[in-house]
């Protein structure tokens, strides 16, 4: 009897926490609606007859110091304009972004809109989990301005089976991606006036410049973010262009076939380029252990011959080159005769959470944001004179905190900006302004809107990416010899499950093509 009682009490004790869980789960569901409803309470009196709803926008980053003041101004303007939406931002620290967002989604915490970085965790993944809502009807009804400021080609990136799942941030022209920046100051010093049009010319030009450079800090070829960004620029050289490398591992050819990137001929050629650069001491000898910050510092200072992509802040570059002129840094492409392609559309989008009570509020808000420059300025840059100053037509100067580093307020454009309204530093170089000009000649690559959803092959994907970092990266970056190491590396990739990942890629790409009628 005593034993039985003992056993029983143990079971009861064991079950107690479980039941606590389920109880709180239920109450969480039950309570989910109330906060937004109560949040709108005090505002009702000041608004028109329609109820004011609170839109909670969850995004990564750190809350800027002046957001409370800006928030007040934005909400006042929203009310004045009769939008009947109050915006509330919740910043989640970068270090916890993925984890905390998932928690919020899975516990049905009350929020409405959240940011999606397609190249990190794709929208397709959220759609697959049922975490985002179809907002086609709302966009049709309230999103008049959205359709105006975001081109059709970008919308296709957030459309699946005819349903729109998010609003893309169209803050730059993706066709710029295949270009590189040439530092003509250093090139001139070495007597080079003709910009390279082939990979070989590029290497030769760098070698000539290196020979003329004095001092310890050499203008090595900066390779930002490893494999991801190097590719676009070099790929214009190959006959198989256009093609795209996604997630750093999958080669998607123009023929619609997905291949293991490391196994392709194009990979071999890229690796040969970097090997050559490494051997001729044109890329940093410490490339594999070089820290992101050091790289950022080099790029900021403008101390490079060529940079894949656009240059950074010209103010920093002026510290290195006090007499720098606009035409000293220009945007170039290899094989300029080939067409320009948009390889990646809608990289950053804002989606509405599936459990949001007011999906229309998100659309109404975005529609208001993109209605005119005034609204855009208010939300993106804050209060004029307090957090920023306008400079000329499209210029902006931010006001900094007492530490002279942190901005008092700024909303990152790449999350929610739009190139029709974007403001930039007044002394921005033409090479950078190119980002914010729509390119009518550019073509859109057929798979530009395709984002892989790795949830089916999660384990394999993680293993494959680990092998890529440890074994493929050194080959690609030219630190070790391709012929010597590639077989062993490919072997490891196969063991990690690359074939399964690529097969899943192919399946999803086929489905994507079918859905687009390609």
């Amino acid at each position: 009897m005593k034993r039985l009682l003992l056993l029983l009490s143990t079971v009861v004790l064991l079950l107690a926490p479980l039941s606590a869980c389920s109880r709180s789960d239920k109450s969480a569901n039950g309570a989910s609606g109330s906060p937004s409803a109560t949040g709108s309470g005090p505002q009702e009196t000041g608004a028109s007859s329609e109820e004011v709803v609170t839109l909670k926008y969850v995004l990564p980053g750190t809350q800027p110091k002046e957001w409370p003041a800006v928030q007040e101004a934005v909400n006042r303007k929203l009310l004045e304009d009769g939008v009947n939406v109050r915006i509330e931002k919740e910043y989640i620290d970068w270090g916890a972004w993925e984890q905390k967002l998932n928690l919020k989604l899975s516990t049905n915490e009350p929020f409405d809109m959240f940011h999606v970085m397609n190249d990190w965790i794709s929208l397709a993944n959220y759609i697959g989990r049922g975490a985002v809502r179809d907002i086609s009807a709302e966009i049709e009804k309230y999103g008049e301005n959205l359709k105006k400021v975001i081109p059709e080609s970008v919308w296709s990136g957030v459309t699946k089976d005819g349903k729109i799942y998010a609003v893309p941030a169209y803050w730059y022209e993706p066709a710029v991606d295949g270009s590189y920046t040439a530092n003509r100051i250093l090139l001139r010093q070495a007597g080079i006036t003709e910009m390279p049009k082939t990979q070989a010319e590029m290497l030769d030009a760098m070698e000539k410049v290196m020979a003329t450079v004095q001092g310890a800090s050499k203008p090595y070829l900066p390779i930002r973010g490893g494999l991801r960004d190097a590719s676009d620029v070099l790929h214009r050289e190959y006959d198989s262009y256009p093609f795209v490398v996604k997630d750093k591992i999958a080669f998607i050819g123009n023929d619609g076939i997905v291949r293991n990137w490391a196994e392709t001929e194009e990979f071999k050629k890229d690796a040969a380029f970097f090997r050559e650069a490494y051997k001729r001491k044109l890329s940093n000898p410490d490339i594999l252990v070089y820290k992101q910050e050091q790289l950022e510092k080099q790029i900021n200072s403008g101390n490079y011959v060529f940079l894949f992509g656009t240059p950074n802040n010209p103010d920093e570059m002026r510290k290195t080159y006090p007499d720098m002129k606009d035409e000293d840094f220009t945007l170039q492409r290899l094989h300029p005769e080939k067409p320009k392609y948009r390889m990646l559309n809608a990289k950053n989008v804002n989606a509405v959470a599936a459990h949001s009570e007011h999906p229309e509020a998100a659309v109404k808000f975005l529609n208001w944001l993109y209605a005119n420059q005034e609204n855009y300025d208010l939300f993106m840059y804050g209060i004029e004179g307090k957090t920023y100053n306008k400079v000329g037509d499209r210029g902006v100067e931010f006001i900094k905190d007492s530490d002279n580093i942190t901005l008092l307020y700024a909303q990152d454009e790449w999350m929610i900006g739009n190139l029709n309204y974007i403001r930039y530093s007044p002394n921005l170089l033409s090479a950078q302004k190119a980002l914010y000009v729509a390119d009518p000649d550019a073509e859109t690559f057929y798979a530009a809107d395709f984002f892989f959803d790795p949830s089916e092959v999660k384990a394999e994907m993680a293993n494959v990416q680990a092998v890529y970092t440890s074994d493929i990266m050194p080959i690609y970056d030219g630190v070790v010899d391709y012929d010597e190491k590639i077989d062993a590396a490919l072997q490891k990739l196969r063991a990690a499950g690359i074939d399964k990942v690529i097969a899943e890629y192919q399946r999803q790409l086929d489905a994507y093509k079918a859905s687009k009628g390609l």
Partner: protein
């Protein structure tokens, strides 16, 4: 003389070895400190060095320009550590006292119940839901209570120590008319000081170094503990690799020396806990070594 020399030689080696080891342990700390007072331009040019060309206190100046942030998080960290540690130690010891008492019914089952929490955890989602439902968001309690929810390992540590005390102590106290509260607080706990010092250190360190609770449960910047301020610097730097190329970069990472200065500042008072608690450890080692 001869005998002294003979015994000295190994001792010299041991001392040298230990000194070397201690120096190696100190080295990263010293380097961190030196970097924090190194001139930033020297740092960029030469990298880390124990003997920099030029010193500068600029990093500390910048840091204390923002004294309100650091100061506030200092207050938060200290409050959380003090209150949290006191509460956690009290709860742990009281539970241990109960479970160490052979007269408690279903002691085995209760022990098992606590033991299971060491083997399995409910996972993040239930933890998060429960914390939210308890109202542990955006307040100081959110930084204290989740870690208070008991570390069974510490509890067993104390329980085992208490079980090693003679049961006759309790019996005689009962006979003199003491109840359990008196037995626990007047007799058992004073005898357990060495083990209490140990778990105090564990809890205090855990509270001082905790940033996870802050990340998950606190959005209000006024409630950020020190370690979270540090964590933020790191995660913001990692962010730089995630934002798209060409995006106007609105975040400038702090200078290398500023980061190290922040590390030095956050070490703060917690290092003083070690020497203070150390004497109890030694006492703990000696206790029970000689049977009287």
């Amino acid at each position: 003389m001869h005998t002294v020399r003979k015994t000295d030689l190994p001792a010299v080696f041991i001392y040298c070895g230990l000194a070397l080891f201690a120096a190696l342990c100190l080295l990263p700390m010293v380097l961190t400190f030196i970097v924090s007072i190194t001139d930033e331009s020297v740092l960029i040019r030469n990298g880390y060095s124990l003997f920099p060309e030029r010193f500068s206190l600029e990093a500390y100046r910048t840091l204390f320009n923002n004294a309100d942030i650091i100061g506030r998080s200092y207050v938060v960290s200290i409050t959380v550590t003090v209150i949290g540690t006191l509460a956690a130690v009290t709860i742990t010891t009281m539970a241990a006292y109960t479970l160490a008492n052979p007269n408690v019914k279903y002691r085995g089952a209760l022990n098992l119940y606590f033991f299971i929490t060491m083997l399995f955890s409910g996972g993040l989602v239930p933890w998060y839901i429960i914390c939210k439902q308890l109202g542990l968001t955006d307040n100081l309690l959110a930084l204290i209570v989740p870690s208070l929810m008991f570390n069974a390992f510490n509890m067993f540590l104390v329980r085992n120590f208490m079980e090693s005390l003679p049961g006759a102590l309790r019996e005689s106290a009962y006979i003199d008319g003491a109840n359990d509260l008196i037995v626990a607080f007047r007799i058992y706990f004073p005898l357990c000081v060495p083990v209490l010092a140990t778990i105090t250190l564990f809890y205090a360190l855990a509270y001082w170094n905790d940033w996870f609770n802050a990340i998950m449960l606190v959005d209000n910047q006024k409630l950020y503990p020190l370690q979270y301020v540090l964590f933020k610097i790191r995660s913001n730097i990692e962010m730089l690799s995630l934002i798209p190329n060409g995006a106007p970069n609105r975040y400038t990472p702090p200078a290398e020396s500023a980061k190290m200065a922040t590390v030095i500042v956050t070490i703060g008072p917690i290092v003083f806990l070690y020497p203070y608690l150390q004497r109890f450890f030694i006492q703990g080692l000696v206790i029970g070594s000689v049977k009287g």
